[in-house]
């Protein structure tokens, strides 16, 4: 989850109140920025959740906490000036990166620290909402040297050149993708394009090559007073939401927002959405005994504005991109009420407990097996063909196989419990013998069910030691027979990984339940086991059905 670094002095200044470190540590998490950790004298690391991109700047946090800590309430009103700058969106870019949102923020006082905060906000928005710039990318420009109106268009790689940030020389768009650090990092986004997006002013100066890099010419510096913001991307709503988060953060710093005419529409749109909220619904879902006034109060402290009536009319601030449903408002009511103030209550629900029959049956068998002196293991469900086929020499199965495993070690779902238990024996070679292990668990193989694979419960038992053999496992099988009250038959049957003539299938009536036998010396060698190993594996589901 995204982390940001803030300076607590800036937070206090923006909140117009000094909040103690203890209060931040103990209470701040209850608003939904997950953790606050002090890193230096004034430096704090704040972990946020992806649903609140408006928390990715100290300005956004201060705005929310001003309300949460009770310094201010209601919606912050942003009143943008009418557009002076125009941006036209030209045809070629519409197939490449179709959407752009722009705004101007004037009369802003910047410092190195504030610029770093802005860059952090920009980068974090790129990572989260922007899905690493694919979905959206942000450009911030010093407006002073530029000549509006601007054009958002797409050009062939060799047609346009400029000097990008962090570079000494002028390059064309193709060179930037090939040689500039940012170009190499993000060139995948434009991989299939013939033309690349650019924003150009009326003197043909390039502002930006989204989503890659800006022109050095427009770099925002401490002297910058007027900032031009562009947000480009693939989805119109996301582009506009992001623009709102950016401009309102800058406005929190005292900047004056000015709209930009983008193809005839003035952006940003900072008017709130209005939602109606039924107070009974709030009470029912939250379980809180809370009046309409109190609900309104809670919402106001979460920076909504509320008009009371039969239904509450709630104005949702333009930067709250996460609010989609009444439920989201109810959540904010409860957050403002504080989760810690919610009293736990157990409802009376009369229902008889029920364990799935096979689960209960498995537990019974675990008791029986532990009673025979064997140790229960806990092994991985994910495994690999090396362990299953080569080492354990299991017969071919239609395996459940991952498309994208990070390691070959965990690349299939186990079709049998045996490899896991043999691995456990192999890991215990330095311990005393004899060793008896068992586990009951699920395996999965492909079949013709709806998902294409089904889980089956299996019981696996292994015994290893100089004196261990078929008879030892047969004895355990008989203990199961005795204690479960079932009759099982063993008949001789060859199996690739078991010793000839010491291998059998286990049946119950006409149902095949599993196999039993002594492990073939080759499989033993594969697991570097020196003593004989005897094994059995039973199908728990079939056995349960047979009872």
């Amino acid at each position: 989850m995204p982390h940001i670094e803030i300076d607590k002095r800036e937070l206090d200044e923006l909140m117009e109140n000094e909040v103690s470190e203890q209060k931040l540590r103990e209470e701040a998490a209850f608003l939904g920025a997950h953790s606050w950790e002090k890193q230096g004298e004034h430096r704090w690391d704040v972990e946020t959740y992806p649903n609140r991109p408006d928390f990715l700047s100290v300005e956004g946090l201060a705005r929310a906490y001003r309300g949460f800590f009770g310094f201010e309430e209601g919606r912050v009103r942003y009143e943008p000036a009418p557009a002076e700058v125009e941006v036209s969106v030209e045809e070629p870019v519409k197939d490449v990166r179709p959407h752009i949102g722009c705004a101007v923020v004037r009369n802003i006082e910047l410092s190195r620290k504030k610029i770093n905060g802005l860059i952090q906000l920009q980068e974090k928005l790129h990572e989260t909402m922007g899905r690493r710039r694919e979905k959206l990318a942000i450009g911030l420009h010093d407006l002073s040297g530029l000549e509006p109106p601007f054009r958002y268009t797409a050009k062939r790689p060799g047609k346009v050149s400029f000097r990008p940030l962090e570079s000494e020389k002028e390059m064309d768009l193709g060179e930037i993708l090939e040689t500039h650090e940012k170009g190499r990092k993000y060139s995948w986004i434009l991989e299939e394009e013939e033309r690349y997006p650019v924003i150009i002013d009326s003197d043909d100066q390039v502002l930006s090559f989204p989503p890659i890099i800006n022109n050095q010419l427009t770099e925002v510096e401490e002297e910058t007073e007027d900032v031009f913001i562009d947000v480009t991307g693939m989805d119109e709503d996301t582009v506009r939401d992001c623009l709102n988060i950016l401009v309102t953060a800058l406005a929190e710093r005292g900047g004056d927002i000015e709209k930009v005419d983008v193809d005839g529409e003035e952006l940003p749109v900072l008017e709130p959405d209005t939602m109606e909220l039924d107070t009974d619904y709030v009470r029912n879902i939250s379980g809180l005994d809370i009046s309409a006034d109190e609900i309104a109060e809670r919402l106001e402290s979460m920076r909504y504005s509320v008009k009371e009536g039969e239904m509450l009319e709630v104005e949702v601030p333009c930067y709250r991109t996460d609010v989609m449903h009444d439920y989201d408002l109810i959540e904010d009511v409860v957050i403002a009420h504080r989760y810690s103030n919610v009293e736990a209550e157990m409802p009376e629900i009369d229902q008889t407990a029920e364990l799935s029959p096979v689960e209960g049956f498995s537990d019974l068998m675990r008791d029986v097996l532990a009673g025979t002196g064997a140790l229960e293991t806990h092994t991985y469900i994910l495994t690999n063909e090396e362990d299953v086929y080569r080492k354990s020499m299991l017969p071919e199965k239609d395996l459940v196989r991952m498309e994208n495993p990070l390691t070959e070690e965990h690349s299939i779902v186990r079709p049998s419990m045996l490899p896991g238990l043999l691995k456990a024996l192999s890991n215990n070679r330095h311990r005393g013998y004899p060793q008896e292990l068992f586990e009951i668990g699920e395996v999965s193989v492909c079949d013709d069910s709806d998902t294409g694979a089904s889980d089956t419960g299996k019981l696996c038992y292994v015994a290893c030691g100089p004196e261990k053999g078929f008879t030892d496992v047969r004895k355990i099988l008989q203990v199961l027979e005795r204690d479960l009250g079932v009759e099982l038959e063993v008949s001789e049957n060859e199996r690739r990984n078991l010793r000839t003539s010491r291998s059998g299938i286990i049946t119950c009536g006409d149902r095949k339940i599993g196999y039993i036998g002594e492990l073939d010396p080759e499989a033993r060698d594969n697991w570097e086991l020196e003593a004989p190993v005897a094994v059995m594996e039973l199908d728990v589901d079939t056995l349960h059905e047979a009872l």
Partner: protein, 467 residues
């Protein structure tokens, strides 16, 4: 008279032999600490005396002695041999010069005149090397002729050991062994036998299972392989949510796709919810519908997929609400293995479905569960999951720190309505289990839960909650 079996045995030996040492008894196969305990018991009852005495145990060679033995000649003899062949001066390089000169002179083998060495007659006729011979005899297990000289020369040391000598007292001599009653030592420890045993991690799981059953929950059914529809789409997880990206989710090469036939119209409804929220008061996540990945299979990344399937299976027309369900099962994340990350992990999942349920009830169930699992301090803080609202992180106090053990919340109407058929409050949680076991068993490597070291399995106590 009452004696332990061991003391009685010792006494019967002492009555036969007038005097015996501990090491002699050890040589007879008795355990040293057992002899000492039995002797003390007898001494206490005035049946034997224990005396320490020094016993000579023969001689050992010093390093100088060993050097002579290895070289096969003593320095004084070597000096005599060299002086016999050619003139030797005291300024020459002589092996162990001061010793060689001193000893040879003392034995009357040489004379010194103005720094030159002259053999005496005795020296000139010398054949034996008494020092070497003495050492050699000693090494071969014999007794040297003149041990004192060798000791003075620092070539040999006398070995002395302290021995405990046990002797029966008069009282013991008179005591009739048949009159002794056996005293049993209840204090001494026996060997702990090897037994069968359930796995310590499964103890934790069994305990949790018991708690849900006590609360009347029914177990849910679900499998490892699920369509993205259940794992993501039905849970209102946006198409481009980071969790879907390759590094977190195991997508399947085989079986690659599910048939969604049994979900019928729900597939479309789930897709629509992503576009417009699907409810009069809602707006969608602005995301593409479920049409794309819906049937694509994954290994479930959370047991919430099982909850989604359970909601789908409830026949809302026929079955009566409320209902409560649980599941404790394995989930899979495509992660690199290290001390704190594994590609599989166990969660305990729960849902409660009913018209009158609310957030306070959610807190009720979760606090009950954690209380029963042995945590007296826990808290809920706001969190985020695409499918819940309120979204909650459950934290417990462990060693003074708040530690997150999982998520909880109320399923969003966008989740419930398409799956169940109408909007009903659903309380839901998915609590990480490995973390609970990890913290409570004091492990520092999560892989230890899967290591199956026999010694560790045997010695780990059966887990029970601290309550």
């Amino acid at each position: 008279m009452r004696l332990t079996k061991q003391a009685e045995n010792l006494l019967s030996v002492l009555k036969q032999e007038s005097e015996v040492t501990v090491s002699e008894l050890e040589d007879d196969g008795m355990d040293q600490s057992m002899i000492n305990r039995a002797a003390l018991e007898l001494e206490e009852k005035d049946l034997c005396t224990i005396e320490s005495s020094e016993v000579e145990k023969g001689y050992t060679l010093t390093s100088e002695g060993r050097e002579i033995l290895e070289r096969g000649v003593s320095p004084e003899k070597e000096l005599v041999e060299e002086a016999g062949d050619q003139p030797v001066s005291t300024s020459d390089d002589i092996w162990h010069k001061p010793v060689a000169l001193g000893q040879a002179r003392e034995r009357g083998w040489i004379d010194l005149k103005e720094g030159d060495v002259f053999l005496t007659e005795e020296g000139a006729n010398l054949e034996e090397d008494p020092v070497f011979q003495g050492l050699k005899r000693l090494k071969d297990g014999g007794e040297p002729e003149d041990p004192e000289t060798l000791i003075e020369r620092g070539l040999v040391e006398k070995e002395v050991a302290t021995e405990k000598v046990l002797e029966a007292t008069e009282k013991a001599e008179e005591l009739d062994l048949d009159s002794i009653e056996e005293r049993f030592n209840v204090e001494s420890r026996a060997d702990t036998p090897r037994t069968g045993k359930k796995h310590f991690y499964k103890n934790v799981i069994d305990e949790a299972k018991g708690i849900w059953l006590e609360m009347g929950f029914q177990e849910m059914q679900g499998e490892f392989v699920v369509p993205s529809l259940l794992n993501f789409d039905a849970l209102f997880t946006p198409q481009d949510h980071p969790a879907r990206e390759l590094q977190d989710t195991f997508f399947l090469e085989k079986p690659a796709r599910s048939s969604l036939e049994e979900f019928g119209e729900k597939v479309e409804k789930i897709g629509k919810v992503h576009e417009d929220g699907g409810t009069p008061n809602g707006r969608g996540g602005g995301m593409a519908g479920a049409g794309g990945r819906g049937p694509g299979n994954v290994l479930r990344t959370h047991t919430t997929a099982v909850s989604a399937e359970t909601l789908h299976r409830i026949d809302i027309e026929d079955e009566e609400l409320p209902k409560k369900y649980f599941k404790i099962a394995r989930n899979f994340r495509n992660e690199t293995v290290d001390a704190t990350h594994l590609p599989e992990f166990i969660q305990t999942e729960g849902i409660v479905v009913g018209e009158d349920l609310n957030f306070r009830n959610l807190k009720g169930y979760i606090s009950k569960f954690f209380e029963r699992m042995g945590y007296d301090e826990f808290r809920l803080i706001p969190s985020y999951y695409p499918y819940t609202e309120m979204s909650v992180e459950v934290q417990v106090k462990h060693d003074g720190e708040w530690v997150g053990l999982g998520g909880a919340g109320m399923f969003r109407p966008e989740v419930v309505k398409p799956l169940l058929g109408r909007e009903v409050p659903v309380l839901a949680w998915g609590l990480g289990f490995g973390r609970i076991a990890f913290l409570q068993m004091g492990l520092d490597d999560i892989r230890d839960l899967y290591r199956n070291d026999i010694e560790n399995l045997e010695k780990t106590p059966v887990w029970r909650p601290e309550r």
